[in-house]
């Protein structure tokens, strides 16, 4: 049998780049919708909690400083999770569009890994959009520092990876008709009990809560952001946040890849 061009091996990195190129192309076309979907909620929170309530005098001045890192954490997590979970549910559930990628000459895990990395990129982009918007809505934020930029990057990448991988896991494990349930039963509680809108140390007042919320990965992103961006606000030690996120990211990465494989190969 003659060896066709297609029968010659293709490097996995070449396929990976092509897959990522495809996702970036599609995401660029859908940028306005993407932003609307992922930064709407954080921005609304900013308006109410970062602008209206302080104006009315219901919250003290330092609150905005504690709120900003939390809002960044929420944008990062929401967009990372959604930019993977929604396409997965759709592709595997009914459109089957992903099948052309499943036929790519590369190990199946590479295709899943590309999707997760794509989610990381989208998470970072939406956090980058939210930051200046926050500044505009809330005005100058006392004690905000970019002095620990390396820490910010580490927390951002670890957090985005954890949530993107979680999105892969949820998106491949959940039946399409239960997608609404994912938002109300998983994402909403995660956002509200993720120490995004209040610092973790504030839960000293409710000790049971303080320890219960530790199962929530968003806590470590929000607290890590506080440790890196607004160290004046009492927060969890940075190394604890980073360590926890690294472990969580590894667990979700593993679960996400396994679940993807299960859906991809019957």
């Amino acid at each position: 049998m003659s060896e066709s061009i297609a029968a010659t091996p293709v490097r996995a990195s070449t396929v990976f780049v092509a897959l990522l190129h495809r996702d970036v192309r599609v995401a660029t076309k859908e940028l306005p919708f993407f932003l609307l979907r992922t930064i709407m909620q954080p921005v609304l929170f900013l308006v109410v909690f970062g602008f209206l309530l302080p104006k009315m005098g219901f919250v003290r001045g330092g609150y905005q400083t504690a709120l900003l890192p939390g809002i960044l954490a929420v944008s990062l997590a929401l967009s990372a999770i959604q930019s993977v979970a929604l396409p997965m549910v759709q592709d595997f559930g009914w459109t089957k569009e992903i099948e052309d990628r499943l036929l790519a000459p590369v190990a199946t895990w590479v295709i899943a890994a590309e999707k997760i990395i794509n989610g990381v990129i989208q998470g970072v982009i939406s956090a980058l959009f939210v930051l200046p918007i926050a500044r505009v809505i809330m005005g100058p934020i006392p004690n905000l520092t970019f002095g620990h930029f390396g820490d910010v990057i580490v927390i951002t990448l670890l957090g985005a990876t954890a949530f993107s991988a979680l999105g892969m896991w949820l998106g491949t494990a959940i039946a399409p008709q239960q997608i609404g349930l994912m938002f109300s039963a998983i994402i909403a509680p995660m956002m509200f009990f993720g120490c995004a809108y209040y610092p973790w140390r504030g839960l000293d007042a409710v000790p049971v809560m303080k320890y219960l919320v530790l199962v929530n990965p968003l806590v470590y992103v929000a607290e890590g952001m506080r440790g890196a961006l607004t160290p004046e606000v009492p927060h969890m030690p940075l190394l604890v946040s980073m360590g926890a996120l690294a472990v969580i990211a590894a667990l979700f990465w593993n679960a996400g890849l396994r679940s993807f494989r299960k859906r991809a190969i019957g």
Partner: protein, 339 residues
């Protein structure tokens, strides 16, 4: 060397699994000879039970069977999308389980339902698919335009995928399956849901591919399609291979041989009784003024049959002769009709 080879291929799905393809319940008449697909008492469904196939390079091979026969499962295993529970399969010499990446390099797949990438336009569907195989944009575009030309999609190049009709989307799937010039092409029920005109157009495309020397494996539950296109056919039902031969060879195995219909001027009962006595007549039945004769000796009995009808006092108004068909064979093998 065989382009495709399977040995004792078996696939069992757990009953509770949400995705049990090939798991359609039997809808034929009860009391069939075929064994039930469910293993005794177990919560599992056997979609394939020890399938052995050899497909030669350049062959147009058909997998024929009703829904739930195991066709899609077979294609799934050969295209590395379904893991076999037992047995071995190779495509282009590469093992589908041990080296799926090598298999994917060699195959193009046209799915049962068109699944283009809706985030991309028509041309980019091919350009990106080619990129997954390491083919650069310029080369991919050149190939894509050539395929569009052949498949009549040139004016749709920059359209959104949603602007294509069902038949056009199916042709786009064919172009996508060919863009990386695979040795082996799999088509899973490619003409389901197409109107007759689009179906005939697709047949022409497939004949062209066959002439180019590619190995083609196609599943279908349309007798006519298998008959028109395939060199060799495997008839499978409930995960088992029932017959495997060239289309002509299979037809020769059809029961009762040639079907001859004599249309008479009046009721045919007496004529049928006389025809039944003739040598080479397997069976003769009367329906109204028509006698249906199954002949084991082709058309050679026609003159004797006409004499027998005239001896019964009837005149023959019309004669039709039907070659043994896959359909009659299929009914004989499975006890049920195809669709």
């Amino acid at each position: 060397m065989s382009a495709i080879s399977t040995e004792g291929l078996r696939k069992v799905y757990p009953i509770a699994a949400p995705k049990r393809r090939g798991g359609a319940p039997p809808y034929g008449p009860p009391g069939m000879s075929a064994p039930p697909p469910v293993a005794s008492g177990a919560r599992e469904l056997v979609a394939l039970e020890g399938l052995d196939l050899q497909v030669g390079a350049g062959e147009f091979f058909g997998l024929l069977g009703p829904n739930g026969a195991g066709k899609t499962t077979t294609i799934g295993i050969l295209t590395t999308r379904v893991l076999a529970s037992a047995g071995r399969a190779t495509v282009g010499g590469a093992d589908v389980i041990k080296d799926p990446v090598a298999v994917r390099r060699r195959i193009g797949v046209v799915p049962q339902r068109a699944n283009p990438d809706r985030g991309l336009n028509v041309l980019d569907n091919l350009v990106f698919h080619a990129a997954y195989f390491g083919i650069g944009r310029a080369e991919a575009t050149r190939r894509a335009m050539a395929h569009f030309e052949q498949l009549g999609l040139t004016d749709k190049t920059h359209e959104k995928v949603d602007a294509l009709s069902g038949g056009q989307q199916q042709r786009l799937m064919i172009a996508r399956a060919l863009i990386h010039e695979p040795d082996v092409i799999f088509l899973d029920e490619p003409t389901v849901g197409l109107d007759p005109q689009a179906r005939l157009a697709l047949w022409d495309v497939l004949r062209d591919l066959h002439r180019q020397g590619r190995t083609i494996v196609m599943t279908t539950h349309y007798m006519e399609e298998a008959d028109q296109l395939c060199d060799r056919l495997a008839i499978i039902d409930r995960g088992r291979l029932l017959a495997l031969d060239t289309t002509a060879g299979l037809k020769a195995k059809a029961p009762g041989g040639t079907l001859i219909e004599l249309e008479l001027d009046e009721a045919a009962n007496d004529a049928a009784v006389r025809v039944r006595e003739l040598d080479g007549v397997v069976k003769a039945d009367a329906t109204g003024s028509t006698v249906r004769i199954q002949s084991s000796e082709g058309g050679r009995i026609i003159s004797a049959a006409i004499e027998a009808a005239e001896a019964a006092g009837r005149h023959v108004k019309n004669i039709t002769l039907k070659e043994p068909s896959l359909e009659t064979l299929f009914i004989e093998l499975t006890g049920r009709k195809l669709d």
